[in-house]
Symmetry: C2
Subunit: 371 residues, 2 copies
Amino acid sequence: MRKTRNGRPTMKDIARDVGVHVSTISRALNPKSNHAVSSELMDKIKRASARRDYRPNAAAAMLRTNRSRTIGVVVPDITDPVFPPIIRGIEDALAHHGYVAILANTDGDARRQTLAVEALRPRGIDGLILASVMRDDAEATRIAAGIPTVTVSRSTGDPQFSSVVHDEDDGFRRILTHLASLGHRAIASIAGPQTISTGYNRYSSYVRHSELLGLGQDRPLASFARAFNEMEGERCAEELLVAGRPFTAVACANDRLAVGAITAFRRHGIHCPHDVSITGFNDMPLADRLSPALTTVSVQHYQAGLQAAERIIDMIENANVTPTHIVLPVGLIVRTSTRSLTRAPDKEAGHADTSPINDNKNSRHKREEEL
Amino acid sequence: MRKTRNGRPTMKDIARDVGVHVSTISRALNPKSNHAVSSELMDKIKRASARRDYRPNAAAAMLRTNRSRTIGVVVPDITDPVFPPIIRGIEDALAHHGYVAILANTDGDARRQTLAVEALRPRGIDGLILASVMRDDAEATRIAAGIPTVTVSRSTGDPQFSSVVHDEDDGFRRILTHLASLGHRAIASIAGPQTISTGYNRYSSYVRHSELLGLGQDRPLASFARAFNEMEGERCAEELLVAGRPFTAVACANDRLAVGAITAFRRHGIHCPHDVSITGFNDMPLADRLSPALTTVSVQHYQAGLQAAERIIDMIENANVTPTHIVLPVGLIVRTSTRSLTRAPDKEAGHADTSPINDNKNSRHKREEEL
DNA sequence: TTGTAGGCGTTATCAC
DNA sequence: GTGATAACGCCTACAA
């Protein structure tokens, strides 16, 4: 009594057609074992399976081999423009090896990361790619136990996870060097969440390279975003204004924060790049079409996804490979959101001004907060 | 001899713990059949399975029931900003019902759509959500045969597919009505690919409502993009300039085309909205942060994904539901990329000008193409 | 209310 | 080189 049976042909059907045993069909159709099949039989079997349009039943193979050729991919939010290219890279690499990705979103919620992985586990995923991990994410270590895992774009503290990240430090070095070369010395920062490796590393690099470059901040002037989005960028920009310490440039931890900052400053009559230079990070889509076009750090999201996928497949198919930690190079993209402080102001600009924001001698903008 | 056996507990293990037969465990753990299990036994079994942290093996269940609780989702390119919110909607709805999505990209290539579906089929997907279909996509009908399918955001000609789309016609009606109310009569269009339902429908609506509104084009003035991206928007804008027929506004088939058009026009010294009004479609992320901020049609991408997922689950779980065709309402979002032709020009604008682009009496811009 | 048995489609390990 | 057989873990008539 066949309960199921989609009408989809099985190996049994092919076997009957060709007049051999199922096990022979299995052998013939499996690259790893078909060396021991006579070439004439191979031909017949290939033809028969093509004629019937045979497709192996993944569930059966999975049950038997405990391999699903499926990778779980967990991201905070696919709607954030940094993740689509990563996912695209992952998928392209996976497809190349006959693997497939199951996607889950966490909205940056640690608990939902756990939930997501627990939903993926029973589906027999062979590996896990996490773009959602937090810094020192002990929970991630726990839930990923026993399954090949690589983190992408972010990293936890756990060296047991393979990781593919970007050279955040070099990125911020380039940003600060660029701003310094334009004459900026008072460079504030809108930092990302310090619970995430990217936010933490970029801020650390901001502090470190500010010192190395001898920039004139006695102590870092930074505002910390609670999330990498435009709203937080706006909030942090306001915070910087309220702080009251002078600055002529703001290095933001990513492009979305920079976009928010530009908007908020503009509301206060402070225009970028005329009155402040602002930088982003990621070179997200449309960063070049905004006005001002964002000076930012280009990051190889697609490559990161690609490499993460390659790593995971390597870990799955080759027993005990050791964890690797890949750091992808970044580039500086100079556009129009940064401007020289020393060069003569543009002719077109109506009211040239090179004095810092929040400089006491120059209260061009009235702070509502102080009303 | 157990070849596999992850250390993951199975029903057998729980059965041994509790001292009953596996089938009882299966019954108890299955909502559909646990009515016939004594509540004390239920308790014991639940505790035992919790203690062991038991998770059902999806492959085994799948093999037996021919259900994978997996949906294939095929999109042209996850990197295009319209698709992430759709996918997010799909995932959220699926997760709610214990389903999961496998994603595939086609880059708009019809052959890759076939390939993608053929890669998904053997994995026993229960349903298919296609955001990649073409108009009159006979191939899609063929490859999706025998599996519940809904198209989202686009539709084919095949009424057998359920579909969730946006009210493109109302969108273009609103756009044209808006432009007309600003005094525009010579409204050009940058249309999308006519091989895609959205491109075709939006262009048809442009033509239809231009006539209904009595706009002064004897015949439509349109340029056709080969893809929905910025580059094509630039190319089409150039094409409109070369065409030489006057216009004061351009209604684009989506935001990315509009962004490209704005860029291209600007290169020719034609500024939006001062010299041309330009509209988009979709209200993609950052559309409000561009300058000019895009006047566009807001579209419920997330909702579309959500509904598509609900539909597919309905089709899977309830035998022979008939195909439905959902049309989601859209809204007009007026921003600064459109400007009144009749109202007095802004004070700030240096050189007010309300005469049409390409008007013979006014060759403000020199066309390189005619050099 | 619970146990028994058989099978879903594939693969691995035998034996021939 | 090919066939037979026994799992993989779960589900479901049917029997008890």
